[in-house]
Assembly symmetry: C2
Homo-oligomer: 180 residues x 2
Amino acid sequence: MEEFPISKAFTLMESGPVVLVTTHDGKKSNIMTISWTMVVDFSPLFAITTGPWNYSFAALRKTKECVISIPTVDMLDTVIGIGTCSGADTDKFDTFRLTPVPGEHVKAPLIQECIANIECNVVDIVTKHNIVVLEGVAAYFDSSRKEKRTVHAVGDGTFIVDGRTLNRKEMMRSKLPAGV
Amino acid sequence: MEEFPISKAFTLMESGPVVLVTTHDGKKSNIMTISWTMVVDFSPLFAITTGPWNYSFAALRKTKECVISIPTVDMLDTVIGIGTCSGADTDKFDTFRLTPVPGEHVKAPLIQECIANIECNVVDIVTKHNIVVLEGVAAYFDSSRKEKRTVHAVGDGTFIVDGRTLNRKEMMRSKLPAGV
């Protein structure tokens, strides 16, 4: 995992992959699967939808820290497993044989097996809509990984794998932020 | 275009496709390209990030209505064209040869060429974060269309096309809302 420019970290999330979000409540680490995310600002800011129904939410609210970890298609069954059990009675790092890696800015761990990790601070919780706004403070990318395709949840139990990439940089030039 | 169950309309958006959002300001219709979206609730509620920098935002705020139209990969250059000019000086339906179709619940038009359309009411604007929360009130899907693949913006001028779909309905059963 090498450091990835924070000014480009929004590009890790904009396509809408299913992500894992780790927290550390002071005693133990946990992981939740989140599909409802978006970019809110290039700085970067992200929004995720979560609330008291997720065990991780208490740690997120208390510590105001988390890591967004982006898994690839070969990890899909792990991602679903994480999303269908609870940190209340499961050590998810242990159960799913994932490797926690200490972050530099937050106590929530990175996940070594994921292709990308973004250390985040909670900057706001819009309680009315269960929207948590996160600021990315450091990002990492594992370019040595062969499998780079992420997955997109449809919401009906099916998942769309990344297909081919189309380049429209020339057409988009006027709209891209500096440094991307 | 046939009606699509509103209880499943969140599945049109959850994978994170680039979308078009239409508005009607009382005099004319407009279209903007939005990549920063997420599902917020199964009901369905959606969040999109937009603000005064988009010409459509004034109409969205005033009328509290819009349509989310979901384009497919064959429409990518149209989607980028729409995202790189302004409704202030461009009739986008005319310029991009798109066909407005009257909705049933809102004055903003559906786009006939898109594979799916969702009529929406603005339920809240979280000004602090430029997040607009939309409630879907009716949805439509064109199942006669051959090209069904959507595109996901990366944010750097490249776009990921939908690849293959993986079925994990059995694993996900405990997590799917009723009727999906």
